[in-house]
């Protein structure tokens, strides 16, 4: 085999794709279909709570189209970071969707499932080997113990093992994004630089096209020297700039993209326009280094209740900060000692978007306020939010002439219990080895 064709239907499983784009992708006879199903971007809640940030019905819609076509054509289907965050609870969620589709469409196949969970005792025993990945403190035993789920990003190697053992579908836990697109190529001996760089772009599907979209398909064709890329929807095109610019996206250094076992070095990468819609990429190199995996974990810090309110009174707005400070003090006076809580006001129209980074904290003619209370239980958060809202509503600030109420409350009920709140506490590297994670095999749809 001197060429390998990879189809990426969507940037994230559940973000969708036009069916016609997918069918057009299949006409290029892909050797593998890859889908990235996750991200850390939606924040610490989803990993911590074991919930997917993608919608179940939307994930099922995408898989119900992809799965039968892949099986019919004997194209391996590789899914990375199942359930959005890739812990075993997310993996089980995604697996159940696949099994449901198999039952509904009468499909049978061999599936590999690759958990990405890290055992706490194992991590505690190896704590001193970890290093922070970015501007954060060293890992502590408390961080490990507090985390509800701890995962690490696997590389392409466990996917290779799954393919070696004849899996038709591979469902992986937390995974280095390019791995699902590159595993078959690397198993077949294609050079790792182009294979992983192509995977890095394909994991975002048509985001690297013009106009960019996360819900449309992209095809990559890998060869011994490099790869070519094009979107399957004729309304989009790849350009040298759209493809080159992709390595900037969500990354700190576009020249050097680290992953398990090494880094993609793009300093000698060349981009070439092949035709109006196709770009060729050559010269990308994968530089090996000591194998390490990225750990991720988040912990529960409390429960949130919020209330949304608007203010239009110019006298109130002219002393906004003092009023909020005084109300905060009143809440403290009422509940000091009886509740451990955090109370903040997000003031839209002042600095609601940028907070302390806002260079122009000048209020508009109206402002929106979110009262944001976090406490150790939902009931305590409800209490703080409720007390704060009622105090602010009737607070007698200096010079007040609108004495019936200070807030425009758009909803009844006004207070919204928002549930558990998590924070990231693990984002560290741990030395490891390529086959640390092991696939498990299941026969789906056979009795």
């Amino acid at each position: 085999m001197n060429k390998l064709t990879v189809l990426s239907p969507t940037a994230i499983l559940g973000y969708g794709f036009p069916k016609q784009s997918f069918l057009e992708g299949l006409t290029h006879n892909p050797d593998v279909i890859g889908v990235d199903a996750g991200s850390v971007d939606p924040g610490p809640y989803y990993l911590g709570a074991g919930v997917s940030f993608t919608d179940r019905a939307a994930v099922k819609r995408d898989l119900a189209l992809i799965l039968p076509e892949a099986l019919k054509r004997k194209i391996p289907l590789m899914i990375g970071t199942a359930g959005g965050s890739g812990a075993s609870v997310h993996l089980a969620w995604n697996r159940e969707i696949i099994e449901e589709i198999a039952a509904e469409q009468n499909l049978s196949f061999k599936m590999a499932v690759i958990p990405a969970d890290i055992d706490k005792d194992y991590l505690l025993a190896n704590l001193d080997k970890t290093t922070p990945l970015g501007p954060l403190p060293a890992l502590t035993a408390k961080d490990v113990q507090d985390s509800t789920h701890i995962v690490a990003q696997m590389g392409w190697e466990p996917y290779r093992e799954a393919l070696d053992q004849g899996a038709d579908v591979v469902l992986g836990g937390r995974t280095y994004d390019p791995a699902v697109f590159a595993a078959l190529a690397l198993k077949l001996g294609f050079p790792s630089g182009p294979a992983l760089h192509m995977g890095k772009i394909l994991e975002c599907a048509a985001i690297a096209a013009e106009p960019g979209s996360g819900r449309d398909c992209m095809v990559g064709i890998l060869d011994e020297e490099g790869f070519t890329l094009f979107p399957t929807n004729p309304e989009r095109r790849c350009t040298v700039k759209s493809v080159a610019a992709h390595s900037l996206y969500e990354k700190s250094n576009p020249w050097l993209l680290p992953g398990p076992g090494g880094a993609l070095d793009l300093r000698n990468t060349r981009y070439q326009q092949v035709d109006e819609r196709t770009v060729r990429v050559t010269g990308s190199v994968f530089v090996k280094n000591d194998y390490a995996i990225k750990l991720e974990g988040s912990r529960l810090i409390g429960y949130r209740t919020l209330a949304i309110a608007g203010v239009r009174d110019p006298i109130f707005i002219s002393q906004l900060q003092q009023v909020l400070d005084q109300v905060r003090a009143a809440v403290k006076d009422n509940f000091e000692g009886s509740a451990n809580y955090s109370l903040e006001f997000k003031v839209y129209g002042l600095n609601g978007v940028m907070g302390d980074l806002e260079p122009t904290p000048v209020p508009g003619h109206e402002v929106g306020i979110i009262i944001d209370a976090v406490a150790s239980t939902q009931e305590k958060a409800n209490t703080i939010c409720s007390f704060c809202r009622s105090t602010l509503l009737h607070y007698g600030y200096e010079g007040r002439i609108a004495t019936a109420g200070n807030l425009a409350l758009p909803y009844s009920p006004s207070d919204v219990p928002a549930g558990a709140v998590y924070e990231y506490c693990i984002h560290h590297l741990l030395p490891s080895e390529p086959n640390f994670f092991k696939p498990e095999f299941v026969e789906v749809g056979k009795r």
Binding site: V40, D41, G43, G134, K241, L248, N253, P254, V421
Partner: protein
């Protein structure tokens, strides 16, 4: 010295998380001439981003020129991990406004 607003030179100016602990800014220039002008102006320094965001210069983790996309990228440490208490922008996608005020000196 004369200067040109960055909005006349760049067609993409954006912010986004680079992982939960960093915030990265991309300024992608319209054409080679605009990119060259920006690079040669010498205005894109860690000090510039420290001043724009009123943060210590050590919190600016890097400023990188990337000619393949005619881009300049700067990355700063997030003031809190994404989604922690006090968060205003989990994805970091609306932190770019101060960049729009950059003026690029020209000869």
């Amino acid at each position: 010295m004369k200067s040109v607003p960055i909005t006349e030179l760049a067609h993409v100016i954006r912010s986004k998380n680079s992982g939960p602990f960093e915030l990265t800014f991309d300024m992608i220039f319209k054409d080679d001439q605009s990119f060259d002008l920006a690079v040669k102006s010498g205005v894109f320094t860690p000090q510039l981003f420290a001043e724009l965001y009123k943060i210590p210069v050590e919190k600016v983790l890097g400023v990188i020129e990337y000619p393949p996309a005619r881009a300049i990228k700067a990355t700063i440490a997030r003031i809190r991990p994404a989604g922690s208490l006090g968060e205003t922008d989990v994805y970091g996608a609306q932190q770019h406004a101060p960049l729009l005020t950059i003026k690029v000196p020209v000869e």
